[in-house]
């Protein structure tokens, strides 16, 4: 399957930005299940300072605001050819040691609720236990847009019993790490069958199983990622893989508008 993706983020400020930076992770990488074609990042109201690959092997770009900008528009676009690997991402690559993904991070710190859910995840094999976990996570956290906070961790989402894909991923990761699996957060794009226009990126999780390598789990949809899923960035939790991390001086009164189009070619 070949997808055409366009992701436009537009910030408008009441008062100009005198200085500011944005660290963005919006560029997918070619892997054995996805091949990226003609990917571009265009910036209006700012400029691209540099790019590098971080310790999770993500492509990172650093943007700066033009002096006294009142508007910044970042448009990422390109095409991705995907194949279905039934969620199998494969062996661990990249500079980080596998043990890093066993580490507890701010948003995946386990509490009583995470531990209880972990105990309920049973199955005869690693894979089956992880699939059982995925079902438990979807059951325990109702998908409700706009009711959770982006700074929630796994324990809060579970206690509140509601959230979005980000919360599902955090709960799954926290539990999988409790079960002893290296686990990580994935941000990316998902082709939806019924529409092209979307207002947010998607998020899911991956767990590392000996002998198989990394395997994806999307608790929000109750499946392992297939050829509709484009992996963009990974990390210990949302904070490592967030599409935008920014700082600025000035620029109060921000209005943000996100347009994402994911269309099958």
């Amino acid at each position: 399957m070949r997808l055409k993706i366009r992701h436009r983020t537009r910030y408008v400020f009441d008062h100009p930005v005198s200085y500011g930076l944005q660290q963005i992770r919006k560029t997918p990488k070619s892997t054995h299940q996805q091949v990226v074609y003609d990917w571009t990042t265009r910036v209006a109201g700012g400029r691209k300072e540099l790019s590098f690959e971080d310790h999770h092997n993500n492509i990172v770009e650093l943007l700066s605001f033009e002096r006294d900008a009142t508007e910044l528009v970042v448009t990422s676009a390109g095409e991705v050819e995907l194949s279905n690997t039934n969620g199998v991402v494969g062996r661990h690559i990249g500079p980080a040691p596998l043990w890093l993904y066993r580490q507890v991070s701010a948003r995946t710190r386990p509490g009583p609720a995470v531990r209880a859910l972990t105990r309920a995840a049973e199955g005869p094999s690693d894979i089956e236990r992880l699939h059982a976990l995925m079902k438990l996570v979807s059951g325990a956290v109702a998908y409700e847009v706009g009711t959770s906070h982006s700074d929630w961790g796994a324990e809060e989402a579970l206690t509140q019993a509601r959230g979005v894909c980000q919360d599902h991923a955090h709960v799954f990761i926290a539990c999988a790490r409790e079960m002893g699996f290296p686990s990580r957060y994935v941000s990316g794009y998902l082709m939806l069958d019924d529409r092209v226009e979307q207002d947010a990126m998607h998020a899911w999780a991956e767990a590392h199983v000996d002998g198989l390598g990394w395997i994806g789990f999307d608790p929000s949809n109750g499946i392992s990622p297939d050829e509709r899923y484009v992996r963009v960035a990974t990390g210990l939790d949302y904070a490592d893989a967030a599409p935008v991390i920014g700082m600025r001086v000035g620029g109060t009164g921000e209005a943000l508008d996100v347009e994402i189009e994911v269309a099958q070619q």
């Binding site: 650093l62 500079p95 980080a96 040691p97 043990w99 890093l100 920014g246 700082m247």
Partner: protein, 474 residues
């Protein structure tokens, strides 16, 4: 002398004058103690004037306190120094190899020489450094190795300072003061110079510039500002090197580089000698509340646009939990047995070690793994019963937070007291520069002296003083 069994660097164990001090002693005996006392006062006045002060945490009433200076030099022979500097060189080489390995393939863990948990569970490990190769392959551009001496041939490493070691300004000012006070002493004794340190530091930093640097590399010193306890040193070193002293607010990312504000616009920096801790270095990548750092500097660093000295994440090499593995680390990376020994160390995270430490608490020194400056430590032999009981509780609650060491009979060097020469315990921090051109240790270093009789705590925050440290020419 009066201290039975303790090695005095001037008088040995049996009161026989040792060779390195022969010329000094001849001079000293010919001096009028009254004149020396006046000189001692003059030296203190000189320090006050040059403004070497040191802020002591938790002492609001004495925010700027003078570190006492003692006029009796500590003297090390050329042969003693040769062995010492070879040992330091080897250790620093190993530290750099260790840092590269830990942030890349982690062969030492795979080889089973150190446990994975030592790194994975360590707060000083900086994941953002994984896969980063600093320009020139140098992680620790400036190192301070804290040594103690227990005998004529026995130097032990007490601590490695691989983050941002301070104190070099005292080494320089102490020598400057001695040269001014007692010029005649330096014509009798051939003392290896330390005054070239700023020039050597600048040359060493320039040699570590990234490949993006064109022409003569631009170096700057980043300070947290005037409220930092070592601000004087930051200003002093920038001045001595003839480079800009900057604060985070003077810097920003311009054209993919870190640049400093000047009267003629922004000028890119090639090498930043930073005296700001990792956590505060970059609010975009680390502590977002930091006002001391430069947003995006880690991004520029990772893209190869700047050298940060010392590299972020070097704290993993001087952590006290790692310290006890240093002999293995030295051997693993250099293939040689360590020239300099460690102080024997019990890791309280290990149940057997903990049991031993709890049983012998009144004989041991117990330190926090992440502590520094002599805070939060227990000195068993001088502790009260209540202190011991309280520490026992702390140890049991968080054993992994502590290491223990025997109380060593540290060597003494005389100080000039009211009643003449009196032995006091000392340690030594030599300063080491690392660049792709090699490793060099300035002959001498900072000698810290416990001014209280019998005291083993030399930290300036705990009432210690300093001495000029001489390494004699051959």
């Amino acid at each position: 002398m009066e201290h039975e069994g303790i090695f005095d660097e001037m008088w040995g164990r049996d009161g026989v004058l040792r060779e390195p001090y022969a010329r000094f002693n001849a001079w000293f005996e010919g001096e009028d103690p009254k004149r020396l006392r006046a000189k001692q006062r003059e030296a203190e006045e000189l320090f006050r004037l040059t403004g070497i002060t040191f802020n002591v945490y938790g002492r609001a009433e004495a925010e700027e306190r003078l570190i006492p200076f003692d006029i009796i030099p500590r003297i090390i022979s050329a042969q003693e120094w040769q062995k010492l500097s070879r040992g330091i060189d080897q250790r620093v080489r190993a530290i750099n190899a260790f840092l590269h390995d830990i942030y890349h393939r982690q062969e030492i863990i795979k080889a089973g020489r150190i446990p994975e948990r030592l790194i994975s569970g360590n707060e000083a490990f900086l994941p953002q450094m994984i896969g980063v190769s600093p320009p020139g392959g140098v992680y620790t551009h400036i190192v301070g190795i804290d040594l103690v001496r227990t005998g004529p041939e026995e130097f032990l490493v007490l601590e490695d300072n691989a983050r941002t070691p301070s104190g070099v300004s005292y080494m320089l000012e102490n020598r400057e003061t001695m040269l001014q006070m007692f010029p005649e002493l330096f014509s009798h004794n051939h003392v290896q110079p330390v005054q070239n340190y700023p020039r050597d530091l600048l040359r060493s930093l320039m040699a570590c510039a990234p490949q993006t640097a064109s022409g003569k590399p631009t170096v700057a010193v980043l300070t947290p500002g005037i409220y930092n306890s070592a601000y004087f040193e930051h200003a002093f070193l920038a001045d001595q090197m003839g480079v800009e002293l900057v604060e985070g607010t003077d810097l920003r990312v311009v054209d993919g580089r870190v640049a400093m504000r000047t009267t003629r616009g922004y000028k890119p920096i090639d090498v930043l000698y930073r005296r700001v801790d990792d956590d505060f270095l970059d609010p975009l990548n680390f502590n977002p509340d930091s006002r001391l750092g430069v947003p995006g500097i880690m991004d520029v660093y990772r893209a190869g646009g700047i050298t940060i000295a010392n590299a972020p994440g070097t704290g993993i090499a001087d952590d006290k939990a790692i310290y006890s593995y240093m002999p293995d680390i030295v051997e693993f990376y250099t293939g040689e047995p360590p020239i300099l020994k460690n102080v024997p160390t019990w890791r309280c995270s290990e149940p057997e070690a903990l049991a031993y430490v709890l049983d012998h608490l009144d004989e041991l020194v117990v330190k926090e793994v992440h502590g520094s400056g002599g805070y939060g430590m227990l000195i068993g032999p001088t502790a009260t019963k209540r202190d011991l009981a309280a520490f026992r509780k702390k140890l049991k609650a968080r054993p992994g937070n502590y290491i223990a060491q025997p109380t060593l009979s540290l060597s003494t060097v005389p100080i000039f007291s009211r009643t003449g020469l009196a032995p006091r315990h000392v340690d030594l921090r030599p300063f080491v520069l690392v660049s792709p051109d090699g490793i060099s240790t300035t002959p001498g270093g900072l000698t810290r002296v416990a001014l209280k009789k019998g005291s083993l705590v030399v930290n300036s925050s705990q009432g210690g003083g300093t001495k000029d440290t001489w390494v004699l020419e051959e």
